[in-house]
């Protein structure tokens, strides 16, 4: 089981599905960002698994995973800054109360 590419990929798929449910269903903007991080981590697990099991990708999988982590850190920084900026104006972190942003 631990020596099987499919097992790691199935885990990555489950993590991605859990994160996508949270992103679509949660009301809190910060909880939505956490779920984006979970989705990114699921994809990262798939990338590292492919890199570890495929000789043609040896090493490259880990390098790409490190790049994904750096981009995820940048995304978290900007996303949380946007949430804090909106919170300062609207006094709530709940996204369905940002109705005036629809117009």
């Amino acid at each position: 089981m631990s020596n099987n590419l499919d097992a790691y990929l199935v885990l990555a798929c489950l993590m991605f599905a859990i994160g996508s449910f949270g992103f679509l269903a949660r009301r809190n903007a910060i909880a939505m960002l956490m779920c984006v991080e979970i989705m990114l981590n699921g994809v990262n697990l798939a990338i590292v698994a492919f890199g570890m099991f495929t000789p043609a990708l040896a090493g490259a999988g880990q390098v790409i995973a490190l790049f994904v982590m750096a981009v995820a850190a940048a995304e978290a920084t900007v996303g949380l800054a946007i949430v804090i900026a909106i919170y300062r104006n609207r006094r709530t972190p709940l996204v369905d109360e940002y109705a005036s942003m629809r117009e």
Binding site: S20, M52, A56, Q62
Partner: protein, 188 residues
């Protein structure tokens, strides 16, 4: 005393046991992140999920990615998110409704996405994949990172710098008095 080669009575290898325990920890705590009513508890379960994922990287032999996972996610991003939770906590406490009213549609959509992905993974045979993980040292990864991927590495550093500057610009308070304003006001 040395451990037996396989788990007694079950015949599994120890790696499989570690895999199952880590899978349980990671999926359980990911579910708790999504379902928990208290947002701080969600954040702490997210740390646990990231630690489980670092365990998977170590189990596969990707040591440098496991270390980076602990440093970046468990150390930095979770602290950032918990700070944002602290800054945006309303006084009324957690909201009554955790999910949107259309959460059932999101549930159906994510179950379908998960099933499709798992079906496509299980039905595909990966012709280039080996039966066991290939040993890759940190030296190999570093050689690749600073030869083939050095341009991407530099672009990433630029991206991080611009993200930090942009984050500070977006999150700062607008009513900081501008020193040049003060000078003109005192002159008039």
């Amino acid at each position: 005393m040395a451990l037996p080669q396989t788990v007694p009575y079950l015949g599994w290898s120890w790696d499989d046991v570690v895999f199952l325990v880590l899978a349980g920890v990671m999926l359980g705590s990911s579910l708790m992140v999504v379902l928990s009513r208290n947002i701080i508890r969600s954040g702490l379960f997210m740390v646990l999920a990231f630690l489980g994922l670092a365990g998977f990287y170590a189990l596969m032999g990707a040591t440098i990615v496991a270390a980076a996972q602990v440093l970046v996610y468990v150390g930095a991003i979770s602290v950032l998110i918990l700070f944002a939770v602290m800054l945006t906590q309303s006084k009324s406490g957690p909201a009554k409704l955790v999910f949107h009213s259309q959460a059932w549609a999101a549930g159906i959509a994510s179950v379908i996405v998960g099933l499709l992905l798992i079906m496509s993974v299980v039905m595909t045979t990966w012709p280039l994949a080996m039966p066991t993980p290939i040993a890759q040292s940190a030296r190999d990864v570093a050689t690749l990172l600073f030869n083939d991927y050095v341009l991407a590495f530099e672009v990433i550093s630029l991206l991080l710098l611009s993200a930090v500057v942009g984050g500070i610009y977006l999150a700062r308070k607008d009513n900081i008095p501008d020193p040049s304003d003060a000078v003109t006001r005192s002159e008039t």
